[in-house]
């Protein structure tokens, strides 16, 4: 359970500085992954032949038209759905069902409405049998990190969408996951809140060091946040299984100007890829 101690993040960086031991727990390897549904009209492939490797600590965005299978891919990695072909490995181990090492942030938050913010954040820790006092401390700390200390005793229904999503992120990060799976996490938020949340996520991700897979509809969001953008294509409405059309490295550095020419060029290029496929 050392993974949940607040100090482990800094301890890991110090370790890395002393000896170059890379923490491999956040490495994602998808090889020839496919998902086939049996329907009354015969089998349907939601995704097929997906090969993707994500390095520990990398931030990868997945974009593509509706139905291209990007959420399916994320749900397979989360362990909610089983792939029907290929291999899915996180941290060198095959994925078999959901686990706290792979935290999921949903578009609709998925908070427990009958628990307070603090109780929501420590829920996972308690389920993993982290002692009560330690879980309490860790939850308070994470709630502070997302700036909601004043709201720790409120219920989710009393918070705005942006605040609820912060709680959901704090809840997942409290368990110190190696991999963070985010399924259009800011899709339900207004534009202003969305921008704030993107800044927040950049900061949190730098602190946590987790690998992030981020599904989004917004190409700007993808370019702003990620190291690489995976463009998916196909899907049931195209008569072809969802697949990876192209992987675009972003390479814009840490500070990104969403109005800068390089940013816009990249955005246009990815948009073209999404639309032509």
């Amino acid at each position: 359970m050392s993974a949940v101690t607040p100090a482990s993040g800094t301890a890991a960086t110090t370790d890395r500085a002393v000896a170059p031991v890379v923490d491999e727990s956040g490495r994602v390897v998808l090889a020839a992954v496919g998902k086939r549904y049996e329907t009354r009209r015969g089998p349907v492939d939601a995704v097929a032949d997906v090969d993707l490797e994500v390095a520990p600590g990398e931030f990868v965005a997945i974009v593509g038209a509706s139905g291209c299978g990007k959420s399916t891919l994320l749900r397979i990695l989360a362990g909610f759905e089983r792939h029907t072909s290929g291999t899915v490995e996180v941290g060198g181990a095959p994925v078999r069902g959901p686990a706290p090492e792979r935290g999921v942030v949903f578009q609709d938050y998925g908070l427990f409405p009958w628990l307070t913010v603090a109780e929501n954040v420590r829920f996972g820790l308690r389920q993993q049998r982290v002692p009560r006092s330690r879980a309490r401390r860790r939850a308070a700390e994470m709630i502070e990190v997302v700036g909601l200390s004043r709201f720790a005793d409120r219920f989710p229904g009393e918070l705005s969408g942006g605040m609820q999503q912060r709680v959901a992120i704090a809840r997942v990060l409290a368990g110190d996951p190696a991999l963070l799976l985010m399924d259009e996490p800011f899709g339900a938020l207004d534009a202003l809140t969305r921008t704030t949340m993107q800044h927040e996520l950049k900061r949190l991700r730098a602190e946590s060091g987790a690998t992030v897979l981020f599904v989004t509809h917004s190409i700007e969001e993808a370019v702003y946040l990620s190291d690489r953008v995976v463009v998916m294509a196909g899907g049931a409405s195209h008569g072809a299984p969802g697949h990876i059309a192209e992987i675009v490295p972003v390479g814009l550095g840490d500070v990104r100007d969403v109005n800068g020419p390089e940013f816009n060029d990249l955005e246009r290029r990815i948009a073209a890829l999404v639309h032509e496929s």
Binding site: A78, G79, G110, F112, W114, Q127, Q128
Partner: protein
């Protein structure tokens, strides 16, 4: 703002009570004027409200008629409430866990659903002759009938509420490392609680409905038995007194149930407003 809300609430209460007053007035006028209503309801056969009020007072506090029922309200109400509570409690203790399991696990549902649907349409009235033969007169038969009647609405509401638990919450719990038992107890049950409470309220209400049926035979103390005896003696006034007390008891027990849950849950949104 708060004052405006308060004023509206007082206004609504006044409106509701005003309607009750209107009904009482119509009742009084109807009896005096010997109205005959639809269904051939002969108002002349009813006791007027003031007679019922006096008998109700005597039933509660005594000192007016000094008959066998004077000042015995609490005794009868207590005996009846105990039977309703026992029957309802037993029904809830069985129906809630079974309903959660049926709603959550298709195999349990497949095993129990046909039996449930075979027994459910049989009304409590149809059970009475059989119950009298296999259990016999008395309290036990009454409690059995109440249990039987309260069981199905609680069960069906629990099944529906369990099925309506958002799959997202189960996913969230599982990715946070919750065990299957934890998912059931910490997520499914609380998420289904508003629906379960609705079922419990319906079940408790039905308990009072079935009370009169259950107490009709071989019971001396209880509101139902009082009503049945009064019918044999053609004491319409006492029948009406019994009806009023049962109505109030049903209303109060529902309020108490809701308040109890609200007290238990505090600000947690687990009971429907």
């Amino acid at each position: 703002m708060r004052a405006a809300l308060w004023r509206r609430r007082v206004g609504h209460t006044a409106l509701g009570l005003g309607f009750v007053a209107l009904l009482l007035l119509m009742w009084d006028l109807g009896v005096r004027g010997e109205w005959v209503l639809v269904f051939d309801i002969k108002m002349a056969f009813l006791p007027p409200p003031d007679v019922v009020a006096r008998l109700l007072w005597d039933f509660a506090f005594g000192g007016i008629f000094d008959d066998a029922y004077s000042g015995t309200l609490l005794e009868h109400l207590g005996a009846s409430a105990l039977r309703v509570l026992a029957g309802f409690g037993l029904a809830a203790a069985l129906a809630v866990p079974i309903g959660v399991l049926m709603g959550r696990f298709p195999l349990v549902n497949a095993a129990l659903d046909p039996a449930v649907n075979l027994f459910r349409p049989v009304p409590a009235t149809a059970w009475v002759p059989l119950v009298l033969l296999i259990i016999g007169f008395g309290s036990q038969a009454t409690i059995f009938l109440i249990t039987l009647s309260a069981f199905f609405p609680i069960l069906l509401n629990t099944i529906a509420a369990t099925r309506e638990v958002p799959p997202r919450l189960v996913e969230a719990a599982r990715m946070l490392g919750t065990s299957p038992t934890g998912v059931l107890l910490k997520v499914v049950v609380p998420a289904a609680t508003p629906g379960i409470v609705s079922g419990l309220r319906i079940g408790l209400g039905l308990g009072w409905v079935i009370l009169v049926l259950g107490e009709a035979n071989g019971i001396d103390t209880g509101l139902g038995s009082m009503i049945m005896l009064a019918r044999e003696q053609v004491r319409t006034d006492r029948v009406v007194v019994g009806m009023i007390v049962i109505g109030l008891a049903g209303f109060l027990s529902d309020r108490l149930l809701v308040l109890g849950f609200k007290g238990l849950f505090g600000r947690r949104p687990l009971v429907r407003a």
